[in-house]
Protein backbone atom coordinates (compact mmCIF):
# COMPACT_ATOMS: atom_id res chain seq x y z
CA UNK A 1 0.00 0.00 0.00
CA UNK A 2 2.65 2.49 1.06
CA UNK A 3 6.22 2.38 -0.12
CA UNK A 4 9.04 4.74 0.74
CA UNK A 5 12.23 4.66 -1.29
CA UNK A 6 15.51 6.19 -0.25
CA UNK A 7 13.93 9.17 1.50
CA UNK A 8 16.19 12.06 2.54
CA UNK A 9 15.00 14.95 4.68
CA UNK A 10 17.01 17.94 5.88
CA UNK A 11 16.26 20.59 8.48
CA UNK A 12 18.68 23.28 7.35
CA UNK A 13 22.09 21.61 7.59
CA UNK A 14 20.84 18.76 9.76
CA UNK A 15 20.36 15.53 7.85
CA UNK A 16 17.30 14.14 9.66
CA UNK A 17 16.41 11.15 7.46
CA UNK A 18 19.33 9.47 5.73
CA UNK A 19 17.87 7.59 2.82
CA UNK A 20 15.32 5.41 4.55
CA UNK A 21 13.13 2.87 2.77
CA UNK A 22 10.15 1.04 4.18
CA UNK A 23 7.00 -0.72 3.07
CA UNK A 24 3.55 -0.98 4.63
CA UNK A 25 1.31 -3.68 3.16
CA UNK A 26 -2.45 -3.58 2.92
CA UNK A 27 -4.12 -4.43 6.24
CA UNK A 28 -0.96 -4.39 8.34
CA UNK A 29 0.00 -2.62 11.52
CA UNK A 30 3.58 -1.53 11.03
CA UNK A 31 5.42 0.18 13.84
CA UNK A 32 8.42 2.45 13.79
CA UNK A 33 10.32 2.44 17.07
CA UNK A 34 13.48 4.17 18.21
CA UNK A 35 14.92 6.67 20.63
CA UNK A 36 14.22 10.41 20.76
CA UNK A 37 15.50 12.23 17.71
CA UNK A 38 15.80 9.08 15.59
CA UNK A 39 13.55 10.60 12.91
CA UNK A 40 10.29 8.73 13.55
CA UNK A 41 8.08 11.82 13.70
CA UNK A 42 9.87 13.34 10.70
CA UNK A 43 9.12 10.18 8.72
CA UNK A 44 5.40 10.47 9.46
CA UNK A 45 5.35 14.20 8.76
CA UNK A 46 7.02 13.61 5.41
CA UNK A 47 4.52 10.90 4.50
CA UNK A 48 1.56 13.14 5.31
CA UNK A 49 3.05 16.11 3.47
CA UNK A 50 3.72 18.42 6.41
CA UNK A 51 7.44 18.28 5.61
CA UNK A 52 9.02 18.29 2.16
CA UNK A 53 11.76 15.71 1.49
CA UNK A 54 15.06 16.64 -0.18
CA UNK A 55 15.00 13.49 -2.29
CA UNK A 56 13.37 10.09 -2.48
CA UNK A 57 9.91 8.79 -3.37
CA UNK A 58 6.70 8.14 -1.48
CA UNK A 59 4.39 5.78 -3.33
CA UNK A 60 0.79 5.13 -2.30
CA UNK A 61 -0.99 2.27 -4.07
CA UNK A 62 1.36 2.54 -7.03
CA UNK A 63 0.99 6.32 -7.35
CA UNK A 64 3.93 8.61 -6.65
CA UNK A 65 2.64 11.21 -4.17
CA UNK A 66 5.97 12.83 -3.31
CA UNK A 67 5.10 16.15 -4.93
CA UNK A 68 1.56 16.36 -3.60
CA UNK A 69 0.33 18.81 -0.96
CA UNK A 70 -0.95 17.66 2.41
CA UNK A 71 -4.53 18.32 1.26
CA UNK A 72 -4.18 16.10 -1.81
CA UNK A 73 -2.74 13.33 0.33
CA UNK A 74 -5.69 13.46 2.73
CA UNK A 75 -7.92 13.03 -0.33
CA UNK A 76 -5.79 10.07 -1.44
CA UNK A 77 -6.45 8.34 1.89
CA UNK A 78 -3.60 9.28 4.21
CA UNK A 79 -4.64 10.53 7.63
CA UNK A 80 -2.21 11.74 10.27
CA UNK A 81 -2.90 12.01 14.00
CA UNK A 82 0.06 14.22 14.91
CA UNK A 83 2.29 13.97 17.97
CA UNK A 84 0.95 15.60 21.11
CA UNK A 85 -2.70 15.07 20.11
CA UNK A 86 -3.19 18.61 18.80
CA UNK A 87 -6.96 18.75 19.09
CA UNK A 88 -8.59 22.14 18.43
CA UNK A 89 -9.03 23.21 22.08
CA UNK A 90 -11.76 25.87 21.74
CA UNK A 91 -13.88 23.77 19.39
CA UNK A 92 -16.29 21.18 20.74
CA UNK A 93 -15.65 17.45 20.41
CA UNK A 94 -18.23 17.27 17.62
CA UNK A 95 -16.67 20.20 15.75
CA UNK A 96 -13.26 18.56 16.03
CA UNK A 97 -14.60 15.37 14.50
CA UNK A 98 -16.31 17.36 11.74
CA UNK A 99 -12.97 19.04 10.96
CA UNK A 100 -11.58 15.54 10.39
CA UNK A 101 -14.07 15.14 7.55
CA UNK A 102 -13.29 18.63 6.23
CA UNK A 103 -12.51 17.56 2.66
CA UNK A 104 -15.46 15.20 2.37
CA UNK A 105 -18.77 16.21 0.83
CA UNK A 106 -20.79 13.00 1.30
CA UNK A 107 -22.94 14.04 4.26
CA UNK A 108 -24.78 10.73 4.92
CA UNK A 109 -21.48 8.83 4.89
CA UNK A 110 -19.92 11.39 7.24
CA UNK A 111 -22.82 10.86 9.64
CA UNK A 112 -22.20 7.11 9.48
CA UNK A 113 -18.51 7.52 10.25
CA UNK A 114 -19.37 9.87 13.11
CA UNK A 115 -21.53 7.14 14.59
CA UNK A 116 -18.71 4.64 14.03
CA UNK A 117 -16.29 6.90 15.96
CA UNK A 118 -18.80 7.33 18.79
CA UNK A 119 -19.24 3.54 18.97
CA UNK A 120 -15.47 3.18 19.13
CA UNK A 121 -15.13 5.89 21.80
CA UNK A 122 -18.41 6.15 23.75
CA UNK A 123 -16.89 8.78 26.03
CA UNK A 124 -16.61 11.18 23.05
CA UNK A 125 -20.32 10.80 22.42
CA UNK A 126 -21.04 11.80 26.03
CA UNK A 127 -18.88 14.88 25.63
CA UNK A 128 -19.70 15.96 22.11
CA UNK A 129 -20.78 19.48 23.13
CA UNK A 130 -17.77 20.03 25.40
CA UNK A 131 -14.73 22.08 24.27
CA UNK A 132 -11.94 19.67 23.40
CA UNK A 133 -9.50 21.61 25.59
CA UNK A 134 -11.42 20.51 28.69
CA UNK A 135 -10.98 16.77 28.00
CA UNK A 136 -8.47 14.64 29.87
CA UNK A 137 -5.28 13.54 28.13
CA UNK A 138 -6.66 10.10 27.32
CA UNK A 139 -9.91 11.50 25.96
CA UNK A 140 -7.98 13.98 23.83
CA UNK A 141 -5.95 11.12 22.38
CA UNK A 142 -9.17 9.26 21.56
CA UNK A 143 -10.48 12.43 19.93
CA UNK A 144 -7.28 12.80 17.90
CA UNK A 145 -7.59 9.22 16.64
CA UNK A 146 -11.32 9.63 16.02
CA UNK A 147 -10.72 12.86 14.13
CA UNK A 148 -8.10 11.17 11.97
CA UNK A 149 -10.57 8.35 11.19
CA UNK A 150 -13.21 10.85 10.06
CA UNK A 151 -11.45 11.34 6.72
CA UNK A 152 -12.05 7.59 6.16
CA UNK A 153 -8.37 6.89 5.56
CA UNK A 154 -6.82 3.93 3.78
CA UNK A 155 -3.76 4.33 5.97
CA UNK A 156 -3.70 5.90 9.42
CA UNK A 157 -0.48 7.47 10.68
CA UNK A 158 -0.36 7.54 14.48
CA UNK A 159 2.38 9.47 16.24
CA UNK A 160 2.98 8.40 19.84
CA UNK A 161 -0.60 7.72 20.88
CA UNK A 162 0.56 6.49 24.29
CA UNK A 163 2.45 9.66 25.19
CA UNK A 164 1.68 10.90 28.69
CA UNK A 165 -1.08 8.38 29.38
CA UNK A 166 -1.60 6.12 32.39
CA UNK A 167 -0.72 2.42 31.76
CA UNK A 168 -4.35 1.28 31.81
CA UNK A 169 -5.28 3.90 29.22
CA UNK A 170 -2.30 2.93 27.09
CA UNK A 171 -3.62 -0.62 27.03
CA UNK A 172 -7.06 0.65 26.01
CA UNK A 173 -5.68 2.83 23.23
CA UNK A 174 -3.66 -0.05 21.83
CA UNK A 175 -6.72 -2.32 21.92
CA UNK A 176 -8.58 0.30 19.93
CA UNK A 177 -5.76 0.60 17.40
CA UNK A 178 -5.92 -3.15 16.92
CA UNK A 179 -9.70 -2.87 16.49
CA UNK A 180 -9.39 -0.11 13.90
CA UNK A 181 -6.91 -2.25 12.01
CA UNK A 182 -9.18 -5.32 12.15
CA UNK A 183 -11.96 -3.18 10.70
CA UNK A 184 -9.81 -2.66 7.63
CA UNK A 185 -7.59 0.38 8.12
CA UNK A 186 -3.87 0.00 7.60
CA UNK A 187 -1.84 1.55 10.43
CA UNK A 188 1.65 3.01 10.58
CA UNK A 189 2.42 3.53 14.24
CA UNK A 190 5.28 5.51 15.72
CA UNK A 191 5.97 4.65 19.34
CA UNK A 192 8.45 5.02 22.16
CA UNK A 193 6.62 2.35 24.13
CA UNK A 194 8.39 -0.36 22.13
CA UNK A 195 7.02 -3.31 24.13
CA UNK A 196 3.38 -2.40 23.52
CA UNK A 197 3.94 -1.43 19.91
CA UNK A 198 5.77 -4.65 19.04
CA UNK A 199 3.04 -6.73 20.64
CA UNK A 200 0.33 -5.44 18.31
CA UNK A 201 2.44 -4.88 15.18
CA UNK A 202 2.67 -7.30 12.28
CA UNK A 203 6.04 -5.86 11.31
CA UNK A 204 8.39 -3.31 12.78
CA UNK A 205 11.27 -1.06 11.84
CA UNK A 206 13.86 0.23 14.32
CA UNK A 207 15.30 3.68 13.67
CA UNK A 208 18.49 5.21 14.96
CA UNK A 209 19.70 8.75 14.11
CA UNK A 210 17.94 8.99 10.78
CA UNK A 211 18.45 5.46 9.49
CA UNK A 212 16.60 2.16 9.72
CA UNK A 213 18.87 -0.26 11.53
CA UNK A 214 16.64 -3.27 12.03
CA UNK A 215 13.51 -4.72 10.49
CA UNK A 216 11.40 -7.80 11.13
CA UNK A 217 8.08 -9.07 12.39
CA UNK A 218 6.89 -7.78 15.75
CA UNK A 219 7.52 -11.19 17.28
CA UNK A 220 11.10 -11.37 15.95
CA UNK A 221 12.03 -7.96 17.27
CA UNK A 222 10.53 -8.73 20.69
CA UNK A 223 12.98 -11.67 20.88
CA UNK A 224 15.95 -9.79 19.40
CA UNK A 225 18.78 -9.21 21.87
CA UNK A 226 19.65 -5.90 20.27
CA UNK A 227 16.12 -4.57 20.72
CA UNK A 228 15.77 -6.03 24.20
CA UNK A 229 18.94 -4.31 25.32
CA UNK A 230 18.18 -0.93 23.77
CA UNK A 231 14.43 -0.53 24.19
CA UNK A 232 12.87 -3.18 26.37
CA UNK A 233 15.07 -2.78 29.46
CA UNK A 234 16.91 -6.05 29.45
Amino acid sequence: MLEINNLNVHFGVIHALKGISLTVNDGEIVTLIGANGAGKTTTLRTISGLKKPTSGDIILNGENITGMSAQQRVNKGISHAPEGRRVFPAMTVLENLEMGAYLRKDKPEIARDLKMVYDLFPVLSDRQKQPAGTLSGGEQQMLAIGRALMSRPKILLLDEPSMGLAPLLVQEIFNIIRGVNKAGTTVLLVEQNAMMALQIAHRAYVMETGSIVLHGTGEELLQSDQVKKAYLGG
Binding site: A70, R73, H80, F88, M99
Partner: protein
Amino acid sequence: MRGILNKQLTQRIIFMLLAYAIVQLLVSTNIINAYLQATLVTICINIILAVSLNLITGFTGQFSLGHAGFMSIGAYTCALITMRVPTIAGFLAGVLMGAVMAALVGFLVGLPTLRLRGDYLAIATLGMSEIIRIVFINLDSITNGAAGLNDIPRFVNWPWLYVFVAGTILLIRNLLKSSHGRACIAIREDEIAAEAMGINTTKYKVLAFIIGAFCAGIAGALYSSYFYYIKPDLFGFLKSVDILVIVVLGGLGSISGSVLAAVLLAVVSTYFQSFPEIRMILYALILVIIMIFRPQGLLGSKEISISMFNRMGKLFAFGKGEK
Protein backbone atom coordinates in the same frame (compact mmCIF):
# COMPACT_ATOMS: atom_id res chain seq x y z
CA MET B 1 -37.28 23.41 12.34
CA ARG B 2 -38.05 25.50 9.31
CA GLY B 3 -40.49 27.59 11.34
CA ILE B 4 -37.81 28.35 13.94
CA LEU B 5 -35.32 29.36 11.28
CA ASN B 6 -37.83 31.68 9.70
CA LYS B 7 -38.69 33.16 13.06
CA GLN B 8 -35.01 33.82 13.74
CA LEU B 9 -34.58 35.41 10.35
CA THR B 10 -37.60 37.67 10.87
CA GLN B 11 -36.32 38.67 14.29
CA ARG B 12 -32.93 39.44 12.80
CA ILE B 13 -34.42 41.61 10.08
CA ILE B 14 -36.64 43.42 12.60
CA PHE B 15 -33.63 44.01 14.84
CA MET B 16 -31.58 45.40 11.95
CA LEU B 17 -34.36 47.70 10.77
CA LEU B 18 -34.96 48.85 14.34
CA ALA B 19 -31.30 49.74 14.84
CA TYR B 20 -31.41 51.75 11.65
CA ALA B 21 -34.67 53.51 12.46
CA ILE B 22 -33.73 54.48 16.02
CA VAL B 23 -30.50 56.17 14.98
CA GLN B 24 -32.23 57.76 11.99
CA LEU B 25 -34.86 59.15 14.37
CA LEU B 26 -32.20 60.52 16.71
CA VAL B 27 -30.42 62.15 13.79
CA SER B 28 -33.53 63.75 12.30
CA THR B 29 -34.74 65.06 15.67
CA ASN B 30 -31.26 66.52 16.13
CA ILE B 31 -30.62 64.66 19.40
CA ILE B 32 -27.56 63.40 17.58
CA ASN B 33 -26.36 66.88 16.58
CA ALA B 34 -23.55 67.77 14.23
CA TYR B 35 -20.99 67.26 16.99
CA LEU B 36 -22.29 63.86 18.04
CA GLN B 37 -22.59 62.87 14.42
CA ALA B 38 -18.80 62.86 14.19
CA THR B 39 -18.81 60.35 17.04
CA LEU B 40 -21.40 58.26 15.24
CA VAL B 41 -19.25 58.19 12.11
CA THR B 42 -16.18 57.30 14.15
CA ILE B 43 -18.09 54.45 15.80
CA CYS B 44 -19.23 53.07 12.46
CA ILE B 45 -15.78 53.29 10.89
CA ASN B 46 -14.20 51.70 13.95
CA ILE B 47 -16.74 48.88 13.91
CA ILE B 48 -15.80 48.06 10.31
CA LEU B 49 -12.09 48.24 11.13
CA ALA B 50 -12.36 46.18 14.32
CA VAL B 51 -14.63 43.48 12.92
CA SER B 52 -12.38 43.03 9.90
CA LEU B 53 -9.21 42.95 12.00
CA ASN B 54 -10.95 40.45 14.27
CA LEU B 55 -11.34 38.16 11.26
CA ILE B 56 -7.56 38.27 10.74
CA THR B 57 -6.34 38.30 14.34
CA GLY B 58 -9.21 36.98 16.46
CA PHE B 59 -10.57 34.21 14.25
CA THR B 60 -7.67 33.21 12.01
CA GLY B 61 -5.04 33.93 14.67
CA GLN B 62 -2.70 36.01 12.50
CA PHE B 63 -1.30 38.89 14.51
CA SER B 64 -1.44 41.93 12.21
CA LEU B 65 -0.29 45.45 13.06
CA GLY B 66 -0.88 46.90 9.61
CA HIS B 67 -4.59 47.56 9.45
CA ALA B 68 -4.17 51.34 9.21
CA GLY B 69 -2.12 50.78 6.06
CA PHE B 70 -5.05 49.09 4.30
CA MET B 71 -7.34 51.82 5.61
CA SER B 72 -5.14 54.52 4.12
CA ILE B 73 -5.22 52.88 0.69
CA GLY B 74 -9.04 52.97 0.76
CA ALA B 75 -9.02 56.56 2.01
CA TYR B 76 -6.67 57.87 -0.68
CA THR B 77 -8.26 55.91 -3.52
CA CYS B 78 -11.75 57.10 -2.63
CA ALA B 79 -10.59 60.69 -2.06
CA LEU B 80 -8.80 60.88 -5.40
CA ILE B 81 -11.83 59.49 -7.25
CA THR B 82 -14.50 61.65 -5.57
CA MET B 83 -12.40 64.80 -6.01
CA ARG B 84 -12.48 64.21 -9.76
CA VAL B 85 -16.04 62.83 -9.93
CA PRO B 86 -17.94 64.54 -7.11
CA THR B 87 -21.20 62.62 -7.48
CA ILE B 88 -22.82 59.78 -5.58
CA ALA B 89 -21.76 57.42 -8.35
CA GLY B 90 -18.22 58.70 -7.96
CA PHE B 91 -18.39 58.14 -4.22
CA LEU B 92 -19.62 54.56 -4.58
CA ALA B 93 -17.00 53.87 -7.23
CA GLY B 94 -14.43 55.36 -4.86
CA VAL B 95 -15.46 53.12 -1.97
CA LEU B 96 -15.45 50.05 -4.18
CA MET B 97 -12.10 50.89 -5.80
CA GLY B 98 -10.62 51.75 -2.41
CA ALA B 99 -11.69 48.39 -1.04
CA VAL B 100 -10.44 46.52 -4.10
CA MET B 101 -7.07 48.30 -4.04
CA ALA B 102 -6.66 47.54 -0.34
CA ALA B 103 -7.57 43.90 -0.96
CA LEU B 104 -5.06 43.73 -3.79
CA VAL B 105 -2.29 45.07 -1.58
CA GLY B 106 -3.45 42.65 1.13
CA PHE B 107 -3.02 39.81 -1.33
CA LEU B 108 0.42 40.94 -2.51
CA VAL B 109 1.65 41.48 1.04
CA GLY B 110 -0.07 38.44 2.50
CA LEU B 111 1.33 35.86 0.12
CA PRO B 112 4.96 36.19 1.25
CA THR B 113 4.48 37.39 4.85
CA LEU B 114 1.86 34.90 6.02
CA ARG B 115 4.56 32.23 6.20
CA LEU B 116 5.70 34.10 9.29
CA ARG B 117 4.20 33.48 12.70
CA GLY B 118 3.31 35.53 15.75
CA ASP B 119 5.66 38.41 16.49
CA TYR B 120 7.43 38.09 13.14
CA LEU B 121 4.20 38.55 11.23
CA ALA B 122 3.32 41.53 13.44
CA ILE B 123 6.65 43.18 12.58
CA ALA B 124 6.25 42.43 8.87
CA THR B 125 2.73 43.90 8.74
CA LEU B 126 3.87 46.91 10.75
CA GLY B 127 6.67 47.44 8.22
CA MET B 128 4.19 47.08 5.38
CA SER B 129 1.91 49.81 6.72
CA GLU B 130 4.90 52.11 7.27
CA ILE B 131 5.98 51.55 3.66
CA ILE B 132 2.48 52.46 2.47
CA ARG B 133 2.56 55.62 4.58
CA ILE B 134 5.95 56.66 3.23
CA VAL B 135 4.85 55.99 -0.34
CA PHE B 136 1.89 58.33 0.20
CA ILE B 137 4.21 61.00 1.63
CA ASN B 138 6.54 60.78 -1.36
CA LEU B 139 3.97 60.53 -4.15
CA ASP B 140 3.75 64.34 -4.01
CA SER B 141 2.17 64.81 -7.42
CA ILE B 142 -0.78 62.53 -6.65
CA THR B 143 -1.24 62.62 -2.89
CA ASN B 144 0.08 66.11 -2.11
CA GLY B 145 2.70 64.58 0.18
CA ALA B 146 2.75 65.11 3.92
CA ALA B 147 0.27 67.99 3.71
CA GLY B 148 -2.41 65.57 2.57
CA LEU B 149 -5.59 65.98 0.54
CA ASN B 150 -8.09 68.69 1.37
CA ASP B 151 -11.70 69.46 0.40
CA ILE B 152 -12.75 65.90 -0.28
CA PRO B 153 -16.47 65.99 -1.14
CA ARG B 154 -18.67 64.63 1.64
CA PHE B 155 -21.21 61.98 0.73
CA VAL B 156 -21.25 59.94 3.91
CA ASN B 157 -24.47 60.09 5.92
CA TRP B 158 -26.18 57.68 8.28
CA PRO B 159 -27.95 55.54 5.62
CA TRP B 160 -24.67 54.91 3.79
CA LEU B 161 -22.82 54.23 7.02
CA TYR B 162 -25.49 51.76 8.01
CA VAL B 163 -25.31 49.95 4.68
CA PHE B 164 -21.55 49.52 4.92
CA VAL B 165 -21.45 48.59 8.61
CA ALA B 166 -24.28 46.06 8.27
CA GLY B 167 -22.74 44.76 5.04
CA THR B 168 -19.35 44.22 6.66
CA ILE B 169 -20.79 42.48 9.71
CA LEU B 170 -23.01 40.22 7.61
CA LEU B 171 -20.17 39.39 5.22
CA ILE B 172 -17.78 38.40 7.99
CA ARG B 173 -20.41 36.66 10.09
CA ASN B 174 -21.60 34.52 7.20
CA LEU B 175 -18.04 33.74 6.21
CA LEU B 176 -17.30 32.54 9.73
CA LYS B 177 -20.44 30.39 9.84
CA SER B 178 -19.41 28.65 6.62
CA SER B 179 -16.89 25.84 6.29
CA HIS B 180 -14.34 28.48 5.22
CA GLY B 181 -14.78 30.10 8.61
CA ARG B 182 -14.32 26.76 10.35
CA ALA B 183 -11.06 26.37 8.47
CA CYS B 184 -9.90 29.81 9.64
CA ILE B 185 -10.72 29.01 13.26
CA ALA B 186 -8.98 25.63 12.98
CA ILE B 187 -5.83 27.43 11.81
CA ARG B 188 -5.97 29.67 14.88
CA GLU B 189 -6.50 26.67 17.14
CA ASP B 190 -3.67 24.54 15.76
CA GLU B 191 -2.08 25.22 12.42
CA ILE B 192 -0.30 21.88 12.11
CA ALA B 193 -3.40 19.88 12.97
CA ALA B 194 -5.40 22.01 10.53
CA GLU B 195 -2.93 21.18 7.78
CA ALA B 196 -3.05 17.49 8.70
CA MET B 197 -6.85 17.61 8.30
CA GLY B 198 -6.33 18.72 4.72
CA ILE B 199 -6.96 22.44 5.16
CA ASN B 200 -4.96 24.62 2.77
CA THR B 201 -3.64 26.87 5.54
CA THR B 202 -1.88 29.36 3.24
CA LYS B 203 -5.04 29.83 1.18
CA TYR B 204 -7.21 30.57 4.20
CA LYS B 205 -4.70 32.87 5.87
CA VAL B 206 -4.40 34.89 2.66
CA LEU B 207 -8.19 34.84 2.23
CA ALA B 208 -8.72 36.25 5.73
CA PHE B 209 -6.08 38.88 5.03
CA ILE B 210 -7.71 39.90 1.71
CA ILE B 211 -11.22 40.17 3.17
CA GLY B 212 -9.89 42.05 6.20
CA ALA B 213 -8.03 44.47 3.94
CA PHE B 214 -11.08 44.88 1.70
CA CYS B 215 -13.22 45.97 4.65
CA ALA B 216 -10.46 48.21 6.02
CA GLY B 217 -10.40 49.86 2.58
CA ILE B 218 -14.13 50.57 2.88
CA ALA B 219 -13.58 52.08 6.33
CA GLY B 220 -10.82 54.31 4.98
CA ALA B 221 -12.98 55.44 2.09
CA LEU B 222 -15.81 56.39 4.48
CA TYR B 223 -13.31 58.21 6.66
CA SER B 224 -11.97 60.36 3.84
CA SER B 225 -15.45 61.14 2.59
CA TYR B 226 -16.77 62.27 5.97
CA PHE B 227 -13.80 64.15 7.43
CA TYR B 228 -12.91 65.76 4.03
CA TYR B 229 -9.22 65.92 4.94
CA ILE B 230 -6.65 63.12 5.01
CA LYS B 231 -2.88 63.02 5.43
CA PRO B 232 -0.48 60.06 5.69
CA ASP B 233 0.22 60.62 9.39
CA LEU B 234 -3.39 59.81 10.28
CA PHE B 235 -2.74 56.22 9.28
CA GLY B 236 0.43 55.53 11.25
CA PHE B 237 1.33 52.83 13.73
CA LEU B 238 -0.86 54.37 16.43
CA LYS B 239 -3.98 54.02 14.31
CA SER B 240 -3.26 50.30 13.85
CA VAL B 241 -2.81 49.96 17.61
CA ASP B 242 -6.09 51.80 18.24
CA ILE B 243 -7.93 49.25 16.11
CA LEU B 244 -6.15 46.36 17.82
CA VAL B 245 -7.14 47.81 21.21
CA ILE B 246 -10.81 47.71 20.20
CA VAL B 247 -10.49 44.09 19.04
CA VAL B 248 -8.67 42.91 22.17
CA LEU B 249 -11.00 44.86 24.44
CA GLY B 250 -14.11 43.42 22.82
CA GLY B 251 -12.70 39.92 22.78
CA LEU B 252 -10.56 38.12 20.21
CA GLY B 253 -12.98 36.00 18.25
CA SER B 254 -16.20 37.90 19.00
CA ILE B 255 -17.85 40.09 16.36
CA SER B 256 -20.39 41.54 18.76
CA GLY B 257 -17.51 42.16 21.19
CA SER B 258 -15.77 44.32 18.58
CA VAL B 259 -18.99 46.26 17.97
CA LEU B 260 -19.55 46.76 21.68
CA ALA B 261 -15.97 47.89 22.30
CA ALA B 262 -16.02 50.29 19.34
CA VAL B 263 -19.17 51.95 20.69
CA LEU B 264 -17.93 52.00 24.26
CA LEU B 265 -14.52 53.49 23.48
CA ALA B 266 -15.96 56.17 21.20
CA VAL B 267 -18.55 57.18 23.78
CA VAL B 268 -15.99 57.27 26.57
CA SER B 269 -13.60 59.24 24.45
CA THR B 270 -16.30 61.76 23.43
CA TYR B 271 -17.42 62.16 27.02
CA PHE B 272 -13.87 62.82 28.17
CA GLN B 273 -13.49 65.65 25.64
CA SER B 274 -14.78 67.88 28.46
CA PHE B 275 -11.69 67.04 30.56
CA PRO B 276 -8.90 67.61 28.05
CA GLU B 277 -6.05 67.57 30.60
CA ILE B 278 -6.74 64.14 32.03
CA ARG B 279 -8.54 62.65 29.05
CA MET B 280 -5.80 60.28 27.91
CA ILE B 281 -5.03 59.23 31.48
CA LEU B 282 -8.64 58.26 32.12
CA TYR B 283 -8.86 56.48 28.79
CA ALA B 284 -5.74 54.44 29.53
CA LEU B 285 -6.96 53.76 33.05
CA ILE B 286 -10.23 52.32 31.76
CA LEU B 287 -8.33 50.05 29.38
CA VAL B 288 -6.07 48.82 32.18
CA ILE B 289 -8.98 48.18 34.52
CA ILE B 290 -10.98 46.27 31.92
CA MET B 291 -7.93 44.18 31.03
CA ILE B 292 -7.36 43.33 34.71
CA PHE B 293 -10.92 42.19 35.29
CA ARG B 294 -11.70 40.84 31.80
CA PRO B 295 -8.36 39.65 30.36
CA GLN B 296 -10.25 37.73 27.66
CA GLY B 297 -11.98 40.95 26.55
CA LEU B 298 -15.51 42.14 27.29
CA LEU B 299 -17.19 39.19 25.59
CA GLY B 300 -14.28 36.72 25.31
CA SER B 301 -15.07 34.60 22.28
CA LYS B 302 -18.84 34.64 22.93
CA GLU B 303 -21.39 36.43 20.78
CA ILE B 304 -24.44 38.41 21.77
CA SER B 305 -27.25 36.97 19.69
CA ILE B 306 -30.98 37.34 19.38
CA SER B 307 -31.54 33.71 20.31
CA MET B 308 -29.74 34.50 23.57
CA PHE B 309 -32.42 37.07 24.37
CA ASN B 310 -35.05 34.54 23.41
CA ARG B 311 -33.61 32.06 25.90
CA MET B 312 -33.46 34.74 28.58
CA GLY B 313 -37.07 35.68 27.83
CA LYS B 314 -38.17 32.05 28.20
CA LEU B 315 -36.26 31.75 31.45
CA PHE B 316 -38.03 34.79 32.89
CA ALA B 317 -41.42 33.59 31.71
CA PHE B 318 -40.74 30.21 33.29
CA GLY B 319 -39.72 31.86 36.59
CA LYS B 320 -42.97 33.83 36.70
CA GLY B 321 -45.03 30.73 35.99
CA GLU B 322 -43.43 28.99 38.98
CA LYS B 323 -44.47 31.71 41.36
